[in-house]
């Protein structure tokens, strides 16, 4: 299953094509509010894909993903607002910057394993967060953040939302194709070997450390793509883009969707990022408004609902939505034989 490509056979191809058509048609069916939610889902799906590349592909548990997300955001805001660079080159430089930061920090952190790698990446991310919050390095505008400029009318979310949505969706598709290519490539198989048993992989002659740095850099570039899109959609980059909260979102999306699965991050992002607007809708229903105030807060609170779901997933569905679906499918396809 893992070694083969993402989409197999006509039913799968038709399913993917159908889902893509439905996703692309969202702006025709939904209000502009839900289109902005759609943009957010695409941005965080890309971040989840990037995180899944580390946790699910090569088996690196990072707690510093927010750094790679935030660097690109601050970079693109700085280049457009302060250096007056047009958006496209600024975005490219920002993504390269995220990849470069990932390469350098990855080179340092790849020497340690397991929880130590998580702590190391957390340390780097917190340095970035503190620098952003205090504006100690002069790149962030402190707690107020840094406003983007030079966003073309077409993709200005305050003017119209559909074009930015299609841009985000198209980028997500490109990112998924890139990951599918990596999965099928020799590098993808090397990473599987490193994830399953790094000592054996090293004994087989794989330069484990180098593969980890490469994977971390690729994930950095993808997180940077998500960071640039996020900056475009919120238009002001604040220190919270580098906070542990962003890393936790990436982790939630990956785990709920299904660690190591191809579609997991997309499903996870859909689930996690639509939960807040859906719970807001729930709060407006008569059923919930009849409840006592604390209970009303409890059933409509995203952290509480997600926290509970999350624990249930870890206990009863550790493979995530997509992983569990694949298990069910395999059980049924095996049964008649």
């Amino acid at each position: 299953m893992r070694a083969r490509g993402a989409a197999l056979g006509w039913p799968a191809v038709a399913g993917v094509a159908g889902a893509l058509v439905v996703a692309a048609a969202v702006p025709f069916w939904f209000s502009s509010y839900w289109v902005t939610v759609g943009i957010d889902v695409c941005v965080f799906a890309i971040l989840g894909v990037s995180y899944n590349l580390l946790l699910g592909r090569i088996g690196l548990f990072s707690l510093g993903h927010a750094l790679l997300f935030g660097i690109a955001g601050y970079m693109v805001a700085n280049l457009t607002a302060r250096s007056g660079l047009p958006l496209l080159p600024a975005a490219v430089v920002a993504v390269v910057a995220s990849a470069a930061v990932a390469a350098v920090t990855g080179l340092v952190a790849a020497g340690v394993r397991g929880i130590y790698f998580a702590m190391m990446t957390l340390a780097f991310a917190q340095v970035g967060f503190v620098l952003a919050e205090t504006d100690a390095a002069g790149f962030s505008g402190g707690e107020d953040g840094l406003a983007m400029s030079g966003i073309p009318e077409l993709i200005n979310i305050n003017v119209r939302q559909d074009a930015l949505y299609w841009l985000a969706l198209g980028t997500l598709v490109v990112v998924l194709v890139v990951v599918a290519v990596i999965r099928a490539s020799a590098a993808g198989r090397l990473w599987n070997a490193v994830r399953e048993n790094d000592v054996r992989a090293a004994a087989l002659g794989i330069d484990v450390r180098r593969q980890r740095v490469v994977a971390y850099s690729v994930a950095g570039a993808l997180a940077g793509v998500a960071g640039v899109l996020f900056a475009l959609s919120v238009q002001t980059v604040t220190p919270s883009t580098m906070s542990v909260g962003i890393t936790v979102q990436a982790l939630l999306i990956t785990v709920i969707g299904g660690t190591g699965t191809f579609w997991g991050p997309v499903v996870g992002a859909l689930f996690v990022r639509t939960s807040t607007p859906l719970l807001d809708e729930l709060a407006d229903t008569g059923f919930v408004q009849d409840m006592s105030a604390p209970l009303e807060r409890a059933v409509t609170s995203q952290p509480l609902v997600l926290g509970v779901l999350y624990i249930l997933f870890v206990l009863f569905l550790p493979a995530g939505v997509v992983g569990a679906a694949a298990q069910v499918r395999r059980r049924f396809s095996r049964a008649p034989a």
Partner: protein
């Protein structure tokens, strides 16, 4: 900086170090002895701060607040270990994920009950004044914090090294199946250690509430990173190491903040990055630590 300022900064740094030690010692015990990554530790700390704020608001004494924090923490930690957390032994990622979810839930419940705003605690009736020491000036409560940190450090060291429960736990970490085979209930020892670690987290939060001036729901998220920094710098699982790391971070932060405000936040993470680079096993590594 004159001599008096240096003394003031030194004592303030030690007081911060004491809080950080109380915070990190519970985490270190749980990680070192049970190999368990507890990301809900910051949320426990936050609950402790609220316990203090609630009891102080009713006019209760410091001692009462500490006692309630310790008792509540011990009971909560024991139950959580039994019901939820022991399911994740042996799987670091699951431990992290479970406790992360638990932290989210606890924080949100506190936010629903107590509201999203920071709750200031009133001026302390006892220990609220300042005393002068060697030309410097320091709040009495901060001297009390230093004493409390030292007392907990020595007390825990005694329990671990000299008592039967400490012996069972240390042996259980080395080889749980052998200790079970010899007729000792290791799992109960683990539950007890979890209760102790959680009680320490709530005590740390209660002790820190007057230091930080109150309690807020964001306290847990702020402190968990710091707690892990201390634990990693000292050497994950090393009890002596966490004490040394807490005092170092407290003192360095105190002096750094005097010269450059952001320094206080940067010192811990820079120190952690440096230690992981040069000495990834930590300042005083736990025997048999796997890097």
């Amino acid at each position: 900086m004159d001599g008096g300022t240096a003394v003031t900064l030194f004592l303030n740094g030690l007081a911060l170090g004491a809080i950080l030690f109380l915070l990190a010692s519970g985490l270190t015990l749980i990680f070192g002895l049970l190999d368990f990554v507890n990301f809900a530790h910051g949320a426990f700390f936050m609950v402790g701060a609220y316990v203090f704020a609630a009891i102080a608001a009713e006019g209760g004494s410091i001692a009462l607040a500490f006692a309630v924090a310790i008792a509540g923490g011990a009971a909560g930690g024991f139950v959580l270990e039994r019901v939820l957390l022991r399911r994740a032994y042996g799987n670091e990622l699951h431990q992290f994920l479970l406790t992360l979810g638990l932290g989210l839930i606890i924080t949100e419940i506190v936010r629903i009950i107590a509201g999203p705003n920071f709750q200031a605690v009133r001026e302390l009736e006892y220990l609220g004044g300042n005393v002068s020491v060697l030309g410097g000036s320091v709040q009495e409560y901060r001297l009390f914090l230093i004493a409390l940190g030292v007392a907990v450090f020595l007390g825990m060291l005694y329990v671990l090294r000299r008592t039967r429960i400490g012996l069972i736990v240390r042996a259980g970490v080395e080889d749980p199946s052998m200790v079970e085979a010899l007729g000792t209930n290791v799992r109960r020892g683990f539950s007890i250690m979890f209760a102790v670690g959680t009680a320490l987290a709530l005590l740390a939060g209660a002790a820190a509430a007057p230091y930080y001036g109150g309690a807020g729901p964001a306290l847990g998220e702020e402190q968990i990173v710091l707690a892990f920094v201390i634990a990693v710098v000292g050497g994950l699982g090393s009890y002596l190491g966490s004490a040394l790391a807490a005092v170092s971070v407290g003192l360095l932060s105190s002096y750094a903040a005097f010269y450059w405000e952001p320094g206080a936040s940067l010192v811990p993470v820079l120190l952690m990055a440096l230690v992981l680079l040069l000495r990834p096993q930590g300042l005083i590594p736990q025997a048999g630590a796997r890097i």
